[in-house]
Structure formats: structure tokens, C-alpha cells
Point group: D3
């Protein structure tokens, strides 16, 4: 007689690695979070709660099972040393990219986007980035630290250069960050206005998409470290994802769900649906 | 000297049975709920929290006390046998209908709509149904069970037949369910678009209204078993209810509040106000 | 060697009293609250959580540090005697007004607006009031008590007279209150429609602004004593505050955050941002 | 046809008034609570949750239905005027006592014990009091107020005089209160040690029992306004109640459950069981 | 290149099936729960949170990895039909027993013990049962249903007969149940007193152990459907488990954790440690 | 006119620095916490909630105001670099020690004890340590990191050497840690047994006391990162503190309260009372 161990994946992501188009993985780390921590718990909670969803999307009229996703589970990341954590993610992402598969990371905190962006900027010379976020994340350092959730897009800029980062939904930051962005990034305040044009102009180019879920209004998504009122609706985000079907997306992440501040579970439901729709959109 | 026992009713629903136009009752059962249970607690919590509301509606410029509502309290329903539960509700609804009063049920889970729809479809040959819901609820069985929250509208269809069920706000289900709906129900995806036309076409006909509160976006109504992002706003729902004043409503229910996932109490407040507005609208 | 005691202020409000334009203070009292209490905890929680905000507003392109705010901490208010509480607030507000500074109060319950309105109506003969609120608050007494959260605008009317109170977002009250308002206040139901015109007509006049945060929809702001569905969005409120820059505001308050019903912290984040934007707008 | 309105009582307390030995009533008021409010919600929550209990006590081998309890529901008490509240409770208690029935009050805050003690001290010249409590409650005034949760036993002393109040479990208060108690009350620190002797010495005398549930350790009973570590266990309390069977108890109360700080429901379960055992013990 | 899917087990339970001595499985069902549901979530939460434990027990000076446990994950159980659920568990337990391995079930509700007890009573003619529980669970039916959490030990008695069920910690039930137990089971009220003697008398006999975690006091274990004050401590339970090392245990279960009523996580921590210690004790 | 900014201190700790005997400070850092983070929030929450306590201790018959405590507020510590955090605490502690005052730190995570122990081991050649804790904290590294909550007592041992660390209440760790402790520390499993003797033997020697609050049973103290069932009671802890009055305590800390897992507030109340009693005991 034979019994197999139980596996745990995001709903509908049961492809074997070799046959997969897309590799999903969790990065449970929040060690530089300065306000409310806990995004370390997101990947596990997202997998568990994904079973409240169907695999079929009536928006895209497609089923996640057709997207051929391998769910690699979570990386083992320890606390106390962000640099080592980024190295681990970098090595893992590189394996996925070398196997010609799409990496999609579930955070964890926003700093972690550093690693897939680093790997993909080395793979694709003209990598562009679309960032949906409440915060600029453009500080040069945060209280002396170069590697921080508050500096990650500055670090990303060092990889990809001027004019390559498209920021949407931004509604918080230092005056200096907004000023700096004027000449270095494409920063769009408050809403997703301008995204349609950006998508049109990026057609064919390799694009990395980073969705900091705090871009959503806290009424929609309270379960995050730094809720910032005045954000976009779920409909706005869903519309954005449908637009991404026109892009050549080479990697993506969904970060900053902090489940212990999501007592009702609605933020987690939003994260799950965002992930389903995003994976469908970029594998169409 | 004399003292009376304390009674507990929904605010403003203190009519005696014989004088009542509308009979409100609670059905505290959630035994087939597959994800997060707890709608069994809704009727009690709704009654307690209704005292945060006024009886007067500035929307309809009417007072609930004028609607002559008898609140019958909760049915006694036991767990472990859905069929028996449905029979109990059926018998109770039949009494109300035979007394020429409007039955309004507070769920409990959506399966329970089965019973009032059964009774009313027997009473009114051309009964039509308006369903506001996030989910299709059109499976033929759910893991082998014919009586389930996920199959209830398929069962209702067996009572009323093709083209009689108007579905709005639907955003989750199996591909097969959406396909089946194309030829059997009037399914409107995502929003309430088309409701105005539906109401116009149903004028004069007997209509049953079933409001699964998860039709609302989880930002508005997180306290439910399966929160499904991308739903309608409270304003949308309120507008719909105002439209219902033009219909010949012969019964209604409001289901799927799960209070233990409503830590802030806002979902309960929404359920209470929905119930007040609905009872006012259908007794105008 | 020397160490100073730690001070606790709202973020960016570190001016000394003598140099301040605006004096912020907390009034931790909720003794007449009839439904869910707890607004007494708001001032402390607001100060603590304000550190999740930046001091810079990209909406107004100004920094709170430029508004020269002195945060006076909380008044000591005891329970069991509302009259004494109002007297304490009155005396304190009078000091601020006599020092030619703008008083801004963090509630606490809405009754507390009584005191600053009393002081300012004595200072400015033609004081006008803009009230953003879900509730009329126009009862003459509440179960026999003249001083209550449910009567405060009736009391305010006794200070300022007919046509001087502009009410917006109102969606709950007794029929009599709505009726009475027709000839005594400028009551606008449900939304902020008409605010632009009101602001235009009030230009130059001394205006007191009282923001009962329950004017917001509970999806945005569940953390309050009496959540009333059907409210305005944060964008609506933010737009209103930007309009206030055109007014001669002589005092303001932000009341009715009840933090223990704000498990996720999002209501507190909304209160903090509202306060930042309001203080920036009225000191421009 | 006929239907009766639904009544809501504590489990097993369904006697009619005229046949009752004991009258249970709720006093939902917490207007002088200085720390965490919310005991106003206790009576309703206790009734609802009592259905998690059986009516039969294996400790006393008796059934609550044999105790012949009439549950009178809650008194209507408004906020903002403690004196009026106490008058209402006094009048109601007087009716019960005049009908030769035992009054048992569910608080609400501890101040409310003032009223039944006043009535009973007028009825029974040599009334004695047993107080189980974490706090002395012996201040003469609290920030100027004579009627406060912190002064209630000082007021009770004014009714019954020196040596008549037996205090147990006391572990918090001002130095002056402990000092004053040395010559005026029988104060036992920290535990219930000495209760057995007290009960023996009180045999035959009329005794009022006031149980401030915060006498329990917060591990057992966190759901209260001022949790004070170092309290007694549930076994201790249960043993005390069994001793009360030897007394001539003429009235009692159970106060200071604050349900919104009882997220798990265990404090409410403790309050319910305490109430069941107490009512059984004093009607044996 | 090759990547394996992520597996999810209880900490230290990573043996393959063929090499295992003990098979752990989850039974996520709570369909007959009459009060607070949610034990369906226990197996997943227990696995996730077990990582807060070490695999090494300083109590038994042994490591769980030495117990050779295969964690089979959760059975797929649907709602609405308790009979079918019990059949599924029965079939699965039979496979484990036929493979000569020890079955250990994580509930779910207490009714589920029915199935392993049925299988083992067929395998071992003189099966005895040790039940740690707050409730008798000896009703013959519950509101007409024979299969219920409230009847499970009556059903078990039908399998094993008089004098074979040893009940400890019992403190709630109907008078009739306690009466019936006098001649049919070994019922010990309130505590674990008598367990030592019971264990001595059962030496060598096949024993099934069912731990309804509500035997613990709600101060220790609030996260359960029906918290019953007056229970045992964790030390008591731990001592009992150490005694079980002297028995020939042929199967066991740990039931009735309801994680959504365990906001702090302490009940889950207790369940995890109980499970670790129990598995160590019965595989020594 | 003049107004002072509001200061925020632990109750009764309002001495000026120069006159103080004891300096209390907060260290809000939890960056190496591997399970549930959030001890960063403890110092602020402890100060706010300390107002639920009295300053007078009936246990020690002394008032905290007599202990002459200066509350220095919180250190500014950033995330992402534990080494820098420890340096900041070290520098601050050194100032306190050089000013001949007693340092008492509110954590934060247990790693932070590293810094005061380092400073005091340099000041007092024969420094001894009493550690109350659920966990050994004796790993040499944790996933490669030398500075971790799980290694802190190993680091402390490097400062003070063999036989100088007295560990009590320990009930979790690796087998190797328990083994290592046999020859290097005085490890007492599960309880405080042996503390009386330890205190007697340490009379006159300089002692540092570190209280990891998870030494308490989770029934008493659930609000911590890694709740470990089977711990001591509050009475045990209180007795221990009273014993400390016989020691020459040269520094102390109270760590590992994680307020966001303390929904009821009882853990915070325990932390506050522990701190009050400890400060009284070591300044007698």
C-alpha cells in the first residue's frame, strides 16, 4: 500500500515543474518593515485561503489550470540579515529564469522585489518596471540602511536607469522623493490614470510588474503594514491587470499583505484574486 | 403586580401577528457551508444591533413602524440534517403565506431560500426570482449533495423553470455554470446593470427577492462566508431596493451575514439597513 | 548630564506654544454615547499611529511642520458629569482663542463640539458652522438629557441661530429632526453635494468646521460608535478639505473615532490623514 | 391563527413573575467607568450566550428550572446622568423586594450595586455585604464625583456602617483606602482566605452578595474594564458560591463583564456559569 | 533541473508511509456542532502553527522525529451529510489499521471519534476508551439526530459495552446523562482524579484515547465551540499524557479546537503541544 | 502665557533624570524574531495601559513614586541591522550606568538583553544573571546568525562565563541546548523551583535580571511571539519578584510582550504590573 504526503499549493497551481510556464513562490520575510510587521505570514495564508476562490475567471473566461503553474512553496529565509535573504531569492529566481519560466513572487515586504528585478535586469537589457504602490519607495537610505522597503525602487532604478520605472497610485513620500521622481521615473500620483498610455508605449518590451497591494484603498485592503487612505478600488486594479494582457511580462510580484491585520480575511481574498487574475493575464 | 417577559424584535417590528402585513423570521442554519461557517448567528446579532439604526428612512421618507411587521423570532433548526431544516422552514413559510402575509427570512445560509421559493412557486404559478449574489449557485450537486448553498438556484430553477431567474452581481462560479446560465437564467455579470429593465419587465408579476449579501464588495461587507472581491457598493444595493418598490414582491430573504467575521460590526450594520429598506420598499 | 522626558505629539506638531499658529488638543470623553462607547481612546491612538504617515502632503504640496502646530496633549476629563467636562473644554479653548491661535480638537464624542462652538460664537458674532456627519444630531433632548451626542447641533443652533449651520452627508435621524431642519439649518442629505456653493457663499466669514468621521461610509471608517452605511468616500472628504482652504476657519474638530472597533487600524489611519490635511488646509 | 412574540431570557429562567422566587434583571450602564467601558453590553450578551450552558448543575445536582426565576429583561437606562440611572434601578428593585422576591442584577458597572444595597439596607436593618472584587472601591470621591465605580463601597458603608462589609480578593487601591478599611470594613487581601469563617459568622443574617467579576484572574476573565493580574481562579469562585448556600441571601449582583474585551467568549461563559451557580445556591 | 512540490506536515512528522509507526491525519468537519462552529479549520492551523514548537520534548527527553510519524494531510469531507463523512473516516482508518500502524486523528468535532472507535472495536474485542472531556456526550439523540457531537460516546458505548469507557473532567450534561453513566461508564466529575488507578487497571489492554480539548479550562483553551469554565490545567493534561506511556494505546484523537475563537493563538499552541506529547507517549 | 508639551511616562515614573535612582527606557525592536513579530510595539502600549494600574502596591506596601524613576521614553532603533541596534542600546545603557543609576529596559525581543548585560559585565566583574524564560536561548547560531533571540543567553555566557547564569521555567529548546546547559548554566526545567536557594546564594553579588514574559503560561500571557504552554502562574512570578528584594540588582529587563497578539489586553496588564513590582523590589 502507498500513500503520498499532502502537498499545499495555491488553488489550481498543480503543474509539475518541468511542464510549467510559470513558477510561483513565496518569500516570507519582513525584516526591514518599520511600521507594522507580519507580511512574512502572507504566502501561507494566501495558499490556504485561495480555496475560497474558483480556478475559473469569468473576467478573462479562462481557468487557472490552463496557465500551467508550478507552486514551489516558500523559500527558507531567516531574520536578522536582509542581504542574505536577497541573495537567496536572487539565486532561486535565476534558476526559474534559466529554465525559461516566468517567476512570480508572493511577498513578504516590498524590499524583496529587489532580487527578481536584479536578475531580470541582467537578463533583459531594456527591462521596464510597472509599480502599483501607495508609496514612492525612492529614498536613498532609510535611517542609514540602503536595503529597505522604503528604498527598493531607488535600488531598482540603479538596475534599470532613468525613465524605465512607471509608478502609479503613489500618494505618500517625502517631498524630496517626489521631486527626484520628476526627472528619473514616470510617477503618477493618486490614481492609475496614464496606465493605458504606458501599456501602449511598452508593447513588446520586457516588463516586470510589482504590485504593492497597499496601492489599494484601506477600505478594500486594510491588511497591510502601512495603510494609506485615498487609494484605488479593486475594480481599478482588476482593470489594470486586464491591460497587462497586452504586455510582454517577464516576471511579477504581489507584496505587502500582512494577514494578522486582516481580521475579516477580506484583504487575503483580494490578494488571492489579484494573484489568480495576474497569473492568468501574463500567461494568456 | 404584573411584569411581562422581555421580547426581542428587530427595531420597529413590534406589530402583533394578526395585524401584520409582513412576517419577519430568522433561520439560524449554516450546515452546508463549505468555507467559513457562522451565518447561524446572524438573526440574533441583526436584532441586537438593529438598535443602532433609526426606524425612519430618509431615503423613502417612511417609518418602519408603518410597515406593520411581526417579528416571529427564530425557528428552531438542528444541525446534521439539511432536509429536515428545509422542511421546518417550508412549513413555517406556508403558515405565513396562508395567512396572506409577506414572508421575509433572515438567513442563515443561501440554501435556505429553497423553502420559501418552493412554497411561493406553488402559490404563484408564474413566480419570478431576482437574485443578487456574488456566486452563480447553479451547480447540480456539490460533492454529491443536491441540497447545498452552491446548488440552491439550480433547485429554484426546478421550481420556476427557464427564464424566470434574474441574477445580478455574479462574479464567481464554474465555467459550466456560466455556460448553463446562458440558456436557462438571466445572468448579469459583475454589476446590477440591467436591473432597471428587468424590474420594468416584471411589473405586476409575483416576484421573490433573494439577497445574498456577498453580492456587496468585501470592503462594504466582509462578514460573510466567502468574501469575493469586485462586488457592488452599498449605494448600488440601496438603489436596487428603491427600484423594488415598483414590483409585486411576494416574499424575500436576506442571507449570508456571518457575524463572527464582522469584527467591526459594519457588515451587521449593512444587513440591518438593507433589511429596513427592503421591508419598507415591499410594503409601501 | 541631562536627559529630557519623552514627549508625545501628533507627527510634525512639535512647535512650542508661543510660536504656534494652531493648537491641537485631545478631549478623551464619551460619557453620553448611547451605542458603542470608546471614543475616549481616540486622541492617544491617533498620536501613536500618526507615525505611519509622512508629514508631507502631496495633495497640498506642503509639510505639516510648516503649519506651526503645538500639540497640547489631552485634557483631563472625568466620567459621570458631562457638564463639568464641557466646562473644562470651554476654559481651555478660551485660552487658545485669547492667545490668537486656532483651536483644533480631537474627540471624543460629538457632544464635545459644544464647547469650542460656544467660545467661538461668543468671539465671532456671525460664526457659521459646517458639519460633516451621518446623523442630524438635532434632537432637543435625548431621553431627558439636554447635553448629548444626539442633541449637540441643536445646542449649537441655540448659539448661532437659523441658517448658520450647514449639514452634509446626513442620512440618519428622526423624522421630526429632518422636518425641523427644513426651516432652521441647511441640511444636505446623503452626500456633500452643495458644499462647493456653501463654501463660495461663506467666503470671508468666520467658520467652524466639525467633522464627525461617521460621515464616511463604514467601508472606509468602521471604527466608530454608530456605523451608518451609505456614507461618503475618503476622496469625497479629501476634496471637501481642499475646498476649506478658501475659508476663514476659526476652529475645527475631528470626532467619533472609536479605536477599539477599528481592529485593522484603517479608521485610525483615516483619522490621522484627515487631521493632517485639515490642519494644513486651515493654516495655509 | 396565532403566533407569539419571541422572548429572550437567561437559559432556564422562564418562570412567570407571580410564581417566581427570584427576579433577574439587567442594568446596562457603564457611564462612570474610567478605563475601558462596555459593561453596558453584558446583560444582552450573557442572555444570548447562556445557551452554551446546560440548566443542570452537576456541582449542586440541581436544575435552574427548579429555582423559579423570572427574567425581567433590561432596564432602560440613559447615559449622561448617573443619579437618574440609580433612581431607576432603586425603584425597580423596590418593586421586587416588595413582592417578596429575590433581586439579582446583571451589571453594568459596579456603581450600580448602590441601588439594590440602598433598598435592602432599608428593608433589613442589619444587612451585611460580601464583596468579591479586585479593587477596594472605597474612595470618597473620584475626581470630585461621589457616585463612581471607585466609590461604591464607601457609599454602601454609609448605608450599613462599620464592620458590615466583608471584602475578598482585593489587590488594588490607594494606600489610604487600605488604611481606612482597617477600621471600617473586613478587608481580605488577594484571596478568599477567611471567607469560610465569615460565612459561618453570618449565618442567619441578611446578606447581600456583590460579585465584581474582576476578582477573577485575567487569565480566567479578561473581559472586564480593568483587568488586574493576581486574582482568584474559577474553582475558588465556585467554592465560594457553594458556601453561600449556608447564608440567608436577600439580594445579589454580578457585575463588570465587558464583552467587547472578551474576544474568545470565555469571560462571558464564566459570567453565565457564575450566574447559574449563584442563582441555584441562593434559592436552594 | 528538478523541483519538488512543497509538502505540509506537522513539525517533525516527515516519515514516509511505509516506514511509519503512526499515521496522523486531519478530519476537517464540524457539521453537527450546535453552538460555535469552526473546528473544520483546526488541522490546517495546527500544522501551520506547529512550527512554533521544537520537535524535542524535555518532558519525555525524546524527539518527535524518532516517533516515525507519517502525516497524511486532511481527508476530503463535505458538508451536509454526517453519515458520509463518518464512512470516509472509517475507510481511511481501516487502511491505517490494516497496515499495522497507529491512527491518530486531528478533529474536527467530537462526533468524528465515532469512526476510529468503530474500526478499532472491530479489531480489538476488548477495546477500552479513555475520554478526557468537559461534556458527557452521552445523549441518545440530539433533537432527533443519532449522529451528533452530543451523542458520540453513547454510540461508542454501543460498540464497546458497559464499563469500558473511562470519562474524566466531565462537568456538563443533562441530569439523565449523569444518571445513565452511573451504571454504564466510569464517569469522573470535574478532574482527572482516578486516572492513575484507571491506567493501572488497563495495563496491557487495547486502549483508545479521545481528548476533547474542552476538558481544559477556558483560561488555557478558549478556542473551542463550547467553552466550559472549571476545567483542568495544562499541567494536569500533560501529567495524564505521561501516564499514557504505560498503556497499550491502539489509536487516539485530539478534537474540538476551533481556531477562529482563538485570537491569540494560545489554544492552538496547546493543541500542538498536546499532539506532540501524545504522539511521543504512545510510540515510546 | 505658557503651555508645556505633553509627556508620556509609565505611571508614577515622573522623576527628573538627575534625581532618579532608576532609569526606565523602551527598546522597540523585534528584527530577529522568527515566529510572530510585534514586540516593537510593547513599550508604547505598556506606557499607555499602565494607567489601568495604581502606583501603590499592596504586596510591598510601597508606592512607585517613592522609587524615583525617570522614564526616558524609547530609543530610536531601525530595522534591518541588529548589530547597530545593539550598539545604540549599549551606548545608552552605559550613560545610565555611568550616572550611577539602575537601567531597566522594556523590550522588544530578547536579543536586546545582550547590550545591558555586556555593559554591566564590564562594570561588575562577577556579574550573575537570573533568567526567567520558557526557552533556553542557548543556540550558538540561528540559521547562521550569531545575534538572535535564540542565541542571546549563549552570547551572555560569553560575557559572564560558566555557572553564572541561573535559568528558570525553561521548557523548550533543542536537545543539544539542554545538554550544553548541564555543564555551563544553572538550568531549572519547567518551574521556579530552586529560585529561593539561588537567591540565597547570590546575596550581595551584582545580579542582572532578565524576565522573558513567555516564562508565564499562555493562559496568563498569550501576547507573545512564541506562546509555550506549561508555564508558571502570575503568583509564581510575583513571588519571585518579592524574593528579588534580597538581591543586589544592578540592572533588569522585561521583554517579549507582543501587544498585537494580546487582543484582550491582559498580557499588557501583566507586563505593567510585573514592571511596577520589579521596579519597587529592586529600589527598596
Amino acid at each position: 500500500m502507498m500513500m503520498n504526503k499532502s502537498t499545499m499549493t495555491f488553488i489550481g497551481c498543480e503543474e509539475e515543474f518541468d511542464d510549467a510556464k510559470l513558477v510561483l513562490f513565496g518569500a516570507p520575510f519582513d525584516g526591514t518593515t518599520s511600521f507594522r510587521p507580519g507580511t512574512r505570514f502572507a504566502p501561507t495564508v494566501i495558499r490556504n485561503e485561495s480555496y475560497g476562490l474558483e480556478t475559473y475567471s469569468p473576467y478573462q473566461d479562462r481557468d487557472l489550470e490552463d496557465s500551467k503553474v508550478f507552486d514551489a512553496g516558500d523559500l527558507e529565509l531567516t531574520f536578522g540579515n536582509p542581504k542574505r535573504v536577497l541573495d537567496t531569492i536572487e539565486a532561486f529566481t535565476r534558476k526559474i529564469v534559466e529554465a525559461k519560466k516566468l517567476p512570480v513572487m508572493i511577498g513578504g515586504e516590498h524590499l524583496l522585489s529587489y532580487s527578481p528585478i536584479k536578475v531580470l535586469s541582467e537578463t533583459y537589457e531594456d527591462l521596464h518596471i510597472i509599480q502599483l504602490d501607495a508609496h514612492t519607495d525612492l529614498r536613498d537610505d532609510y535611517a542609514g540602511e540602503k536595503l529597505s522597503h522604503a528604498t527598493v525602487m531607488k535600488r531598482a532604478w540603479e538596475f534599470v536607469g532613468d525613465g524605465r520605472i512607471y509608478q502609479f497610485g503613489i500618494r505618500s513620500g517625502l517631498k524630496e522623493e517626489f521631486k527626484w521622481a520628476e526627472t528619473h521615473t514616470q510617477l503618477n500620483k493618486f490614481t492609475l490614470e496614464g496606465l493605458k498610455e504606458a501599456v501602449a508605449s511598452l508593447k513588446g518590451k520586457p516588463v516586470y510588474i510589482t504590485i504593492d497591494l497597499d496601492v489599494l484603498d484601506p477600505s478594500v485592503f486594510p491588511g497591510t503594514g502601512t495603510p494609506e487612505p485615498g487609494g484605488i478600488t479593486f475594480h481599478d486594479l482588476q482593470d489594470a491587470i486586464l491591460m497587462f494582457r497586452d504586455l510582454n511580462v517577464v516576471g511579477a510580484d504581489v507584496v505587502e499583505l500582512s494577514p494578522h491585520y486582516d481580521q475579516t480575511g477580506k484583504s487575503t481574498a483580494v490578494a488571492c484574486k489579484t494573484l489568480r487574475e495576474l497569473m492568468l493575464a501574463i500567461t494568456k
